[in-house]
Symmetry: none
Subunit: 153 residues, 2 copies
């Protein structure tokens, strides 16, 4: 599997560990990711996550902006707040407390696949967020502008 797909609800144990969903692990391994990178979302009360590949792309993208622009500075805060977690032999990571607090997570984490990246949510918050997004998508009339096809025009 090459992309982060689907959602998974896993438990945070008393030591602060969580199992990374097996399918997410296989995506990360394929990226030769030495682990997994998390940072607080600046749009939502959740945690954004990805592998090394994606972070590298983000760094390159930011680098392409004007060096001292406000935009570049804002985006650089993502890098400053990011954490690199190593996955242990059982497929788990230690969740930093401040990130859990930021997302309002207590004992269960929703892993949400978004293709090239993923998010971690508190289950109820995610349910609300998902409903809102789906509703908006439906109201607008969702269309998939597919790459590499005539309809893409």
């Amino acid at each position: 599997m090459a992309v982060f797909l689907s959602t998974f609800a896993n438990k945070v144990d008393r030591k602060g560990r969580v199992s990374v969903p097996a399918s997410f692990r296989s995506v990360l391994e394929r990226q030769a990711s030495s682990g997994l990178i998390l940072y607080p979302s600046f749009k939502h009360p959740c945690i954004d996550g990805c592998g090394d590949e994606r972070i590298q792309e983000m760094v390159d993208s930011i680098d392409r902006l004007d060096a001292f622009s406000e935009e570049a500075e804002d985006l650089q805060t993502i890098l400053a707040d990011a954490r690199q977690l190593t996955i242990d032999g059982d497929g788990r990571v230690m969740m930093p407390k401040d990130l859990l607090d930021y997302a309002g997570i207590s004992d269960t984490i929703m892993f949400v696949g978004l293709g090239k990246s993923f998010q971690l949510w508190e289950p109820d918050a995610y349910a609300a967020h998902r409903d809102e997004k789906r509703k908006r998508a439906r109201d607008r009339g969702i269309t998939l502008p597919m790459a590499g096809r005539g309809s893409d025009k």
Copy 2:
């Protein structure tokens, strides 16, 4: 065969497994699909399905949008709700319970070929849906402009 055609009714066994129709499997294999992707339909009480190829295109398309745009977020909900199922040695997949619930499926699934994709329906719901669609097509007088021909202009 290169496209998903015809309809097939297969049983969901007590373990939640279903045989993917052999002709659908051969289409997926031709795509080098390691499996099959399912997600709840936006428009109907049924499950949409396709191969890896199509999802990969979708991910690439979304990736081309601005990383934190609303449009990208709406489209990502599809990825979050999608499931990748692997086809076992006997040509079967494990159906996730929530998808079965969404489509109201209990013990029999209708596989409906739609060319480049397909749908899974509860048999009675599909019969009703099919009648309605056929009736509408007849009332309107259906026409099909074929691609790649003079008439296409």
